[in-house]
Every structure is written in structure tokens, then in C-alpha cells.
Amino acid sequence: MAESPFKADIERVEKEYSEKMTPGAIVYLPGSSVINKTGSWRVFMPEFHKDKCVRCYLCYVYCPEPAIYLDEENYPVFDYDYCKGCGVCANECPTKAIVMVREKK
């Protein structure tokens, strides 16, 4: 299974995240926003149909979060911890390999 490029950040933030005041409110943990699981915002979720995917990378290029990364074969992996469900990936997918479906909660 492919790993999120933010795996190290997620592990680090779980260990080191602190509200302790720093001089000038400087944030010393790069990428620590990963603590916010923005997937909870989602109303529609992208459903991926690998059989239709031509690995054009457009979804990967466009995702604003980014909540799409690539697996070992360069297929997109959807990170539902962060995907806000905007649907840009599905809208731009030239082969309709991504379909937005109502979130099952």
C-alpha cells in the first residue's frame, strides 16, 4: 500500500504537537496542519474506478489540499482524511474514472 507523502509529518505532529507559546508565535513544526482532518468537511466523496484510469495525473495536479497522492504504479490514492470533497478531480477526469458520490457517514 502506498504511503502518504505526509506520513512523516503526521507521525511527527502526533508526537510533538504542542500549544506551548513560542517567541513570536513561530511554528517550528513544518506541515503540522496535517493535524486537522479536513475530510470531515466533505458532503460528496470521490469514488475511484481504477479500471478507467489512464494515469493522466490531472487529479493529482489539481487537488488543492493536496489529498491525492500516487501509489507505486502512479495511480492516484485518495486521502479521505483530508479530501474536502470539492469534486475538481472528478470534474477534470477525462475518462470519468472519478465519480462523486454522497458521503456515507
Partner: protein, 394 residues
Amino acid sequence: MPIKKVMKANEAAAWAAKLAKPKVIAAFPITPSTLVPEKISEFIADGELDAEFIKVESEHSAISACVGASAAGVRTFTATASQGLALMHEILFIAAGMRLPIVIAVGNRSLSAPINIWNDWQDSISERDTGWIQFYAENNQEALDLIIAAYKAAEDERVLLPAMVGFDAFILTHTVEPVEIPDQEVVDEFLGEYVPKHAYVDPKRPITQGSLGFPAHYMETRYKVWEAMENAREVIKEVFDKFEKTFGRRYHIIEEYKTDDAEIVLVTMGSLAGTVKEFVDKKREEGVKIGAAKITVYRPFPIEEIRALAKKTKVLALLEKDISFSVGGAVFADTSRALINEKEKPIILDFILGLGGRDVTFQNLEEVVDIAKKALEEGVKEEVYWIGLRKEIL
């Protein structure tokens, strides 16, 4: 060996900057401070100072560039006055909040309107709540020395706050006096290199500076600035001690002059202290028990020192070149805060004078003493007096 040169306070400030070796300087011309960046340009042109001088398009960008450079972890310097400092106002808060020990030389000048290029302290006094340490120099030597001391205090890890050093427009900025220039090696030894542990812009250690503080965190950041300013009290004393050991000149948070048996103490700042001390000598010869006190460090406000001074005297007469409308001078408000809960305290009177370059004469000071005496004998009728006002043209 230190050398003596005859120079203006602006040149002394440029020399101080040269000796402190800031890596980045950003400045914009403004009367009466323009000579500072001019002199620095000469130093750089002659290869005597190795710094990046950013010739910015405004004071707002001058301080913003200093914030950027200081955030990147280097020593920075700028000089300004009056409207220029006022234009920096927004970023002054940010420099303090981001805990960046930038140093500004301020040629203390009035604020418009009407536009006026001459001396008073309204510019830097108006910045007293920004979180900057403030020093006021009495003469050109002090301008040089206090800038070097300012770096030492500002960069101390217990402090990490920016600092401004004020010296009076024209009275000092454009007046020549002999100034001793310390040896570079001695200054190097005194200041050391600035290598901050907290702030840097280094791709190897990516950090985020200038974050957004929600209500859950903002107040603590302000408290941290308060704490740093409190720490600055002790740090500045240490710096002044070390300064004396290193350079042989003694500085005090408040410098007292003939205060031990004084019934009236004239408290002031900047170059006016010189005039006041002379006046005290004259009155002493006449048998009047008066003294003087000069506030060298205005932020952090010297609360303990004011209390100690208050114990010695019956009237504190504050001579101020600034005004907070409907209240009086800023030093008056601050002094009142220092003494408000003291069981015994002297009468505190506030005298607004010398605004926009109005001369402060011995005759003005006689008037101050007369009012102080009268208050002592008959009780306080008014707290705030405008001295030297041309009532005939009002």
C-alpha cells in the same frame, strides 16, 4: 585606541551602526535623519562597512525589509523620524510581536499638521505601546553609545525585542560635538555576532513566522512581550554595567543630578537634560534646593527608579516635549502609574514645552520652578501647564 572625532549625532548614529556591523540596513530619507543613511552609504561605498543597504521607497518598506531580514536571522538597522516613524507604526507592533531585535535611530521630530521639521518627542513617544525598548540620548556620545547598548539589550535571549534610540532633531542631529569612537574589536567583543536561535529563514530548518493567533493564543503572545519587556529592566542594567566596564562610560536608567536634598526635581529626557542640569546649578547657587533627573530608558518605564526618586523629593516637575491630548504628557501618565499606590508621594506636575522646535529657556524653567513652589505652598490647582506658549497670538 578609541579615537575622538567632532561629529553630528546623525554621524554618531551611523558610526554606531557601522560598529555594530548590521548585515542589512534599509532606510528612507527624512529630515532630520537623512544624514544617517547618507553616512552609511559612504561607509559602504568606501568599503568600511560590509552590509546590504536596501534603498527602499518608503519608511513602511524600510521597517518591513528590516523585519524580513531580521526574521532571516541577521542584525538590521534603520533610521528615521517623525512622519517616517509614524508610517512605520503598523510594522513596529509586528516587529515586537515577532520578537525581532531591530534597532532604529530616531531623530526626534514633531508630527504634522502643521508640517514642522523641528524637535519634540511626539514621534517616538507615540510609539510607546508598540513593544519597543526606548532610549533617549542627551548628547551625540550618548547617541552612539546607546545604539550599541540597544543591540546588546534587544538581542538578549531574555528580551528579543526591538529597540529605538531617540536623539533630538537639529539640537543633536545637526550639531557637532566631540564623540569618542570605540575600537571595532572592543565593540565586536561587547556585542558578539547575532545568531538567533528563534528566528531564521533557512531551507534546512523550515519554520513559519508571522502566524495567525486566534483568541485561544493571541493573549499569551502579548503576555510574552510584556514578560520580555519586564526582563529588559534587569538586562539593560547588566548591559549598562558591562558597557561601563568595556567602554568606561556609565549609563543609568534614570540619571539623577543633585537630587539628594532637592525639594523640587525637574524630570526630563534627551538634550533638554543638559539645559536643565545647568539651570539646577544656577538655582543651587541661589540657594534653591532643586535637582534634575534624566530618563535614559523610557521603555521599559523605570517604575522602581521613579519610586526611589519620588522618595527624595516633594515635587516631581515633568518637562515633556510631547502631549496626549486631554491627559498631558506621556511621562506624566507613566509617572502617575508608578506612584499611584505609594503611601507617600510627591506632588506631580506636568509641563508641556519645546514642541516643534520651540526653544526651552532658563526663563521657561524659572516659570516651572515658580509653579512648583506655589503648588508646594498652596496646594495643586492644575496638573498640566503649557510653558513658553505665545498667548498673545492665540
